[in-house]
């Protein structure tokens, strides 16, 4: 990948990231991912042709942080909105940024079909095992035994079925070209996460099909934990059920 000349200034704010305070809770994983996205967009020099789609959820105010054209979409419909945009302007780089309630519950039809069509769009999927914005209800990714405001005694499979592994599911679909699960629970994982996001965008830039990066993210607020506890919980509870992996990647050309 081409690097910019001023590579050493890594602590500078990326051009694509705006200098506003975010609305995310302190220690939330969302903020990290927003920054990674901004860095990747800068590094590919695609800020001026990138269009983002953020649906409702804690994702919704992403347009306040990224200095790019953005849609706010209805709950669950970001992949359909992105499809409409990309089909009109195929030269645009279009991504969606969706929570687990959005991507895996109310919008799972749009998610799967965008992948099946091999839409040349990228999804950043924030899996925090909970509905963040509405105050901590059970998500389709909530773990068995995990307490939420709507599974107060802990999720049971008898009542609420099993958490969905979206990466594994989408990896079975031919139209999906790049599928990876990463986490932002520690600096090493953050570096891996950025690599995956770059590959996903690269897949789109090369027109190879649908790409998706699932980011295991921590929600200290609705998990009722300190930020540090919450990153430990990602590693101790989420990763065993949601293993980090690159499930599918386009064959290297050249």
């Amino acid at each position: 990948m081409r690097m910019q000349g001023k590579f050493e200034k890594i602590f500078e704010r990326p051009r694509t990231l705006r200098s506003t305070a975010t609305h995310y809770c302190p220690g939330c994983g969302h903020g990290i991912v927003a920054r990674l996205l901004a860095e990747v967009i800068d590094e590919f020099k695609i800020r001026e042709k990138t269009v983002g789609v953020a649906p409702v959820g804690c994702s919704v105010l992403l347009y306040n942080y990224l200095d790019i054209d953005m849609y706010e979409a209805a709950h669950g419909r970001a992949p359909a909105v992105a499809t409409g945009c990309k089909r009109v302007n195929p030269e645009s780089i279009v991504f969606t940024y969706q929570g687990d309630g959005d991507f895996v519950s109310i919008g799972i039809a749009e998610s799967i079909h965008a992948a099946a069509r091999g839409e040349k769009i990228t999804t950043i999927f924030i899996n925090n095992a909970i509905y963040g914005m509405t105050g901590g209800q059970m998500a389709p990714t909530t773990l068995i035994g995990q307490k939420t405001t709507t599974s107060p005694r802990g999720r049971t499979s008898e009542e609420a079925g099993f958490p969905i592994r979206m990466s594994e599911l989408l990896a079975t679909i031919d139209g999906a070209a790049y599928i990876a699960r990463v986490s932002v629970s520690n600096p090493k994982n953050v570096i891996q996460a950025k690599k995956a996001i770059k590959k996903a965008f690269e897949t789109q830039i090369n027109g190879l099909g649908y790409s998706m990066v699932e980011v295991l993210s921590h929600c200290p607020t609705d998990w009722h934990m300190t930020p540090l506890e919450s990153t430990k919980w990602v590693e101790g509870h989420m990763m065993p059920y949601y293993p980090l992996n690159e499930f599918k990647a386009p064959k290297r050309r050249n």
């Binding site: 054209d69 849609y71 979409a73 909105v81």
Partner: protein, 355 residues
């Protein structure tokens, strides 16, 4: 003279859209409008456009949201149950001020209902349908030719007001074949510059397509801005056809296919020496209240005929503001009122008064 084609209303609507520079269509199959997506799937690739069958009507309307936001002229079509499923997305498009054309070829409801012609989505189309404070501009053709003209205009109006426009037809408008002419004569296309479109923030500050305003004061301002456009529509866009109303003692109010049936009834009644006229709203929103206000001053009787159990009749009564005498006749579930029935009702109205 322009070359005449012989087409179904559905195909004519699709071709009209193409001629109005619509290059993107997203939809999901449902009777009785399938000829629209079928036509588009053949035709759009010929002109460098995109036809995409969505996985649901929900996806379809959100694809419209994306395509309209990217600056394209875009259309979807469906029939009653599918339009219900689109309501959330339609509300979002109004909120985000995105133009698009939505065709509803109505069938009988509620629920799965039937597939025969109906006008029972009048309330949904004209009063909002989705959540929030809004209206769509609603155009109701009564011939295939008019379906063509109105579909072409729908794109211009959608762009002009940055608001979704609905073309509302019953099953017969979609299925019927009639001669039609296309061409510039019927069309005055305007393509306003869409500087708000999401095409990448190149050499300008980023654009944003959104409808969330958490601060109630901001949301009120936003809604007032939308309402200002609605007031402009009311001022500028009312369209109505009147027929023989000056000397009429009874006026039949009807739209779409029912208006055509009523025209035949009126011809027969006039031959019998009865003074009957007609008011046919072409825009259902904005509704021609003024026309009815004038009628109320002349104390004429109004017979409202619909393929529903009484929806437009409420707007007619609003227009008459309590004056005059209104009678309603409707068939529902896919049953179509015949001219004999309308003739009967009119004659009863003369002798009995309101029903």
């Amino acid at each position: 003279m322009m070359k005449k084609s012989f087409m179904t209303g559905n195909e004519a609507i699709a071709e009209a859209a193409v001629q109005a520079d619509c290059r993107h269509f997203f939809g999901y199959p449902i009777t009785p409008q399938n000829e629209i997506p079928e036509y588009m799937s053949r035709r759009l690739p010929e002109v460098g456009g995109v036809y995409l069958q969505a996985e649901s009507e929900i996806a379809a309307i959100n694809m419209l949201f994306g395509a309209a936001g990217a600056g394209a002229r875009v259309m979807t079509s469906s029939s009653s149950p599918g339009i219900s499923l689109m309501q959330e997305g339609i509300s979002y498009m109004v909120g985000a001020q995105l133009p698009c054309v939505i065709v509803n070829i109505m069938r009988g409801g509620p629920g799965l209902g039937g597939i025969q012609p109906s006008q029972s989505d009048y309330f949904q189309a004209t009063k909002g349908g989705g959540h929030g404070d809004y209206h769509l501009l609603v155009l109701a053709p009564h011939t295939v030719q008019e379906a063509v003209t109105l579909t072409m205009e729908a794109f211009d109006l959608a762009d002009k007001y940055r608001n979704p426009v609905m073309v509302l037809g019953d099953g017969y408008i979609g299925q019927m074949m009639e001669p039609v002419e296309f061409g510039r004569k019927t069309r005055q296309s305007t393509h306003p510059l869409k500087s708000w479109a999401l095409t990448g923030a190149k050499g300008r500050p980023p654009n944003l397509v959104k409808s969330l305003y958490l601060n109630p004061k901001e949301l009120e301002e936003h809604n007032l801005e939308i309402n200002k456009k609605i007031q402009d529509m009311i001022k500028n866009e009312v369209r109505v056809e009147t027929l023989l109303i000056d000397d009429a003692e009874i006026i039949i109010a009807a739209y779409g296919t029912v208006a055509r049936i009523a025209k035949t009834a009126i011809k027969v009644l006039r031959e019998r020496g009865l003074k009957i006229g007609m008011v046919r709203p072409i825009t259902l929103f904005p509704f021609p209240y003024e026309t009815f206000a004038k009628i109320s001053k002349r104390a004429q009787k109004v017979l409202v005929v619909e393929m529903s159990l009484g929806q437009m009749v409420e707007d007619v009564m609003l227009g008459l503001s309590g004056q005059g005498c209104v009678r309603f006749y409707g068939r529902t579930g896919g049953m179509v009122p015949s001219y004999d029935e309308i003739i009967n009702e009119t004659e009863k109205f003369i002798t009995e008064g309101k029903a």
